[in-house]
């Protein structure tokens, strides 16, 4: 297991959002977290990166993440594509990409990786020197995914990559995520409202409701589950 949580609890101030979450991510797999608004999906991703106050156990790559600061967790190979994309609006597209590789020491491979990202997302090459704030929502999402990949992460946390994108762009983005997984072997934890797309991409999925896992299994199992089908797939 690349990542394992036991009795993960987290919240904001006095409000508890996660009430003891147990889940695991296998190396090289894509795992989806499904759930309605307010179920605690985004909070789960934030808890993994110590962006919120967290209790319980998180083991990543054989070691506990307890007590580590966000930047130290990132340095261990966890890249987060955050809610709202986290673009550095006043920096150029290329500077945004380079920041993704900030913790990496080998400068030469970074150059090659910038080019590799432009290979995945040719639109970003066209916008290379442009201020990232002027990019469209879809382009900023591509930038956020690329910036996370620049870390050369072991695990990528994706918070609603489809949010605010046109359906065609969503399909394109998911196709690229699939390609990235098979080419780079990076594991992903995907939070999505768009359950159908997420289950198509993911190997396994967890369904959370009000901060607890209520259902888990392979994507196929969840697709065939009647209540998932009715509540999240809508048919």
């Amino acid at each position: 297991m690349l990542l394992e949580t036991k009795n993960l609890r987290a919240g904001y101030g006095q409000t508890r959002v996660l009430h003891g979450l147990d889940f695991a991510i296998e190396k090289g797999s894509i795992t989806a977290l499904l759930g309605a608004n307010g179920a605690g999906k985004t909070t789960t991703l934030r808890a993994l990166c110590a962006m919120v106050k967290t209790q319980g156990e998180i083991r990543f790559d054989g070691a506990s993440l307890a007590g580590l600061a966000t930047e130290d967790i990132v340095r261990r190979g966890v890249a987060h594509v955050p809610d709202g994309r986290g673009t550095f609006l006043h920096l150029s597209t290329e500077e945004n990409l380079r920041l993704g590789a900030y913790t990496r020491r080998e400068r030469r491979t970074v150059e090659a990786d910038v080019e590799r990202m432009f290979g995945y997302f040719p639109r970003l090459r066209e916008r290379r020197a442009q201020q990232a704030g002027t990019l469209s929502g879809g382009e900023q999402q591509m930038l956020a995914v690329s910036r996370a990949l620049m870390l050369a992460p072991k695990l990528m946390l994706l918070d609603e990559p489809s949010f605010g994108l046109a359906p065609l762009l969503v399909r394109e983005l998911f196709a690229i995520l699939r390609e990235i997984r098979s080419r780079e072997g990076v594991s992903m934890l995907l939070v999505e409202q768009n359950a159908a797309m997420a289950l198509d991409l993911a190997d396994r999925a967890y369904l959370i409701e009000t901060g607890r896992v209520v259902l888990q299994g392979t994507s196929q199992e969840l697709k065939n589950n009647d209540s998932v089908r009715r509540s999240y797939l809508g048919y």
Partner: protein, 290 residues
């Protein structure tokens, strides 16, 4: 006409010093969204350090370099010890800390070095530099030093990974943490750099205004004006603003309102900019949706 040219050039010389100090203000403003009122006193204190080193017999440029290095460390310490604890405090609390810092540094300098005005040496020769006659050697030298500092900062922020990380940390701390940047240290580094730049400004202006604990109060006002003219969140604007305020102050002082009223030029500029164009000429206009 020669007189006018002379005043413009002299204005550029002091303007460079305002530009440096304004840049130090902008650097801290970008990271904390607050104006460091103690910036001038920090520069003054650094200048006294340089004076001590020179009194101890150190050669000028060695003392200069050592002062910049010590100021850098002191700036980091101030951030770590004094500013860090009020990081999430209300604005008023932080401003109070900055003003306290101003008063403490001022009194400390007065206590250690007394309030007697001291001369401070210029590192530049008495003969005209590069055959330029309408500027004193010190003024020309100060312009060169200022431009060198500004160029170095530009290269640092624009072309080095660390400079990029500092800009990222100032702009979007949450995202910066997510790419592994230690945001707290970047802020401390910003304070260190601001203190170092202030130290250079202090050492360059001291031969003109002489050394005393209150030497920077007027200069800080001009620096505020400069930062506001350029836009308080624009480093480029602060530099342009600095030179513009320097020239304006000198020309108006010489030909229009006289030397006694010079300082009010800064105040008029500050009020004027705030009334007419609060975001300055190069600053970002902040629009918020309601």
């Amino acid at each position: 006409m020669d007189g006018f040219l002379y005043q413009v050039m002299a204005g550029l010389a002091t303007g460079g010093i305002y530009a440096s100090l304004a840049l130090a203000l902008v650097m801290i403003y970008q990271a904390t969204h607050l104006v460091n009122f103690a910036q001038g006193e920090m520069a003054m204190f650094s200048t006294y350090l340089a004076w001590s080193l020179l009194e101890a017999g150190m050669p000028y440029w060695a003392a200069f370099g050592l002062t910049v290095a010590i100021s850098f460390v002191l700036g980091i310490l101030i951030e770590r010890i004094v500013v860090r604890p009020v990081e999430n405090a209300p604005v008023l609390a932080v401003v109070t800390v900055f003003i306290a810092l101003l008063v403490i540094l001022n009194s400390l300098a007065g206590w250690i070095y007394t309030y007697t005005i001291k001369p401070f040496p210029s590192p530049f020769p008495k003969e005209p530099l590069f055959g330029v006659h309408f500027l004193s050697p010190h003024e020309l030298g100060a312009i060169c030093v200022t431009l060198l500092v500004l160029a170095a900062l530009y290269v640092f922020f624009r072309f080095t990974p660390l400079g990029l990380a500092m800009r990222a940390a100032a702009q979007n701390p949450a995202s910066a943490r997510l790419v592994g940047i230690r945001v707290g240290w970047m802020l401390a580094l910003g304070w260190g750099l601001a203190a170092a730049v202030g130290a250079v400004a202090g050492m360059m202006v001291a031969p003109i205004v002489y050394l005393d604990p209150n030497m920077m109060s007027g200069i800080l006002l001009y620096a505020f004006a400069a930062a506001l003219v350029g836009g308080i969140d624009s480093p480029f604007g602060a530099v342009i603003g600095g030179f513009a305020v320097g020239v304006l102050e000198n020309v108006l002082g010489a030909f229009v309102i006289g030397n006694e009223l010079k300082l009010s030029v800064a105040l008029v500029i500050i009020i004027g900019v705030l009334l007419v164009k609060p975001s300055g000429f190069f600053g970002k206009v902040h629009v918020s949706r309601v």
